[in-house]
């Protein structure tokens, strides 16, 4: 029964996630999925994250009329950057190194997002100049800021949960 409920919530969540992603993409040209991916990366089991990321990426590829696998490639690039940076400093522990790596991974995501989808669909890489690059840097900064905000909110929720648990004891 719980599994059925979880599946139902998951399906509704998928629709909601697609709605929010397209809404923010139209409104601010901003990828909410990336934000959720960064927040979930440390907390959710990698298998579940892989499944959800794959499904969402495929859905977004279809609704954004990209070639299948394009969004997955964007997340792969971000994960790859984080993986490479993990050799230099810790990318998982809360602190400046984590936010720096988040910023670099976000910038990589947005750069690839600017160049590759067009390359896959039309054979020509997307246009990139200094102004667009500046906008992408700005987006990466906003994403990093939102990740920081998300981390703060999640840690507060966690603290409140813990305090409740302590009281119950």
């Amino acid at each position: 029964m719980i599994i059925v409920l979880q599946i139902a919530i998951g399906i509704v969540g998928l629709f909601l996630a697609v709605f929010l992603e397209v809404l923010f993409l139209t409104l601010l040209n901003f990828r909410m999925m990336l934000l959720f991916f960064f927040l979930a990366r440390k907390r959710v089991d990698w298998k579940l994250l892989l499944v959800v990321t794959t499904i969402m990426s495929l859905i977004l590829d279809v609704v954004l009329h990209y070639r299948l696998g394009t969004n997955l490639l964007l997340f792969t690039v971000s994960t790859g950057i984080l993986f490479l940076l993990s050799f230099i400093f810790s990318v998982d522990e809360d602190g400046i190194p984590m936010y720096v790596s988040t910023f670099i991974a976000s910038l990589g995501f947005y750069l690839v997002n600017q160049l590759l989808p067009s390359l896959f669909t039309t054979g020509t890489a997307g246009f990139l100049d200094a102004k667009i690059f500046f906008v992408l840097v700005l987006k990466a900064i906003v994403t990093t800021g939102l990740v920081w905000l998300g981390e703060v909110l999640v840690s507060r929720f966690r603290d409140r949960g813990n305090s409740k648990q302590i009281r119950l004891k």
Partner: protein
């Protein structure tokens, strides 16, 4: 063995990256074939409506935000458009003035006496009941007593003439009094000429709020709607003043009286003509 196992174990992040690479390559390669078409169709069927709705809502919000952020620009544009509309209104008014003048000139050329010289004048004010001010005066050849007409219709007499303008006395004015004759001929569309049937001679007097006609002969068959035509040396001959209306029917009177209803609405006149001999 335990140490060896630990050496070769992958972290979750590494495995995630590894599987993401594999899945990405797999999907990109498979999408180049037609194998994933059913999957694409299925996803499209389920999620495209949600995407379209979200996109539309996003566009609407964006439009609202754009409107709010560009409100000063819109205000500027609105003011510019307002000025533009005013300019167009001015041009339009000018065009209408030209059109009115053209029509007045056409009527004048068709219906006015051919042997008289006319001066085109514009009405620039006056009370429109007993007097009108026009933009031509002594400098243009207007004299006191000059007759002002509009096609074949009598408008008034130049009462006061200055260098650059004149005051025209309309038939409504209490100072206005001249001789006329009454004819049954419908002269609205044509020129009154000599030899027209004269039913009776009479005198027209301005009463301020209406034009009275007196001394109409009792013996002739005069009816309402008959035309009143000027027949006075000071106002000239054969100009239509108006129609007869409100004809008196008192048998005790020696003559009949009536009211003259002008054929031209003096308040609507813009272009009129001054006869200059």
């Amino acid at each position: 063995m335990k140490r060896l196992k630990k050496t070769f174990s992958f972290s979750g992040q590494q495995l995630l990256f590894l599987f993401l690479i594999l899945l990405t390559i797999a999907f990109i390669l498979l999408d180049s074939t037609n194998l994933l078409t059913p999957l694409r169709s299925g996803i499209s069927f389920l999620f495209e409506p949600v995407s379209v709705d979200a996109s539309e809502i996003g566009m609407e919000i964006k439009e609202y935000a754009k409107t709010i952020t560009h409100v000063s620009e819109f205000k500027k544009e609105f003011n510019e458009m307002k000025i533009d509309i005013y300019e167009k209104d001015v041009n339009n008014a000018f065009y209408h003035t030209l059109l009115e003048e053209k029509e007045a000139l056409e009527k004048q050329m068709n219906l006015a006496k051919k042997d008289t010289k006319f001066l085109t004048a514009k009405v620039i004010g006056g009370d429109n009941i007993s007097s009108l001010r026009i933009n031509v005066g002594g400098k243009d050849g207007v004299k006191e007593g000059s007759v002002i007409s509009f096609s074949n219709m009598f408008v008034g007499i130049a009462e006061v003439v200055d260098k650059y303008g004149s005051l025209v006395n309309l038939p409504y004015s209490k100072d206005s009094s001249f001789e006329v004759f009454i004819t049954p001929v419908g002269v609205e569309e044509g020129v009154v000429t000599e030899g027209v049937k004269v039913l009776s001679k009479a005198v027209v007097k301005g009463m301020g709020d209406h034009i009275s006609i007196e001394n109409i002969s009792k013996d002739v068959d005069i009816k309402e709607g008959d035309i009143v035509v000027t027949n006075d040396s000071k106002v000239g001959t054969y100009l239509v003043v108006g129609k007869l209306t409100g004809l008196s029917s008192n048998p005790a009177e020696t003559s009949r009286s009536a009211t003259v209803l002008p054929l031209v609405e003096y308040s609507n006149l813009m272009t009129i003509f001054v006869s200059v001999e």
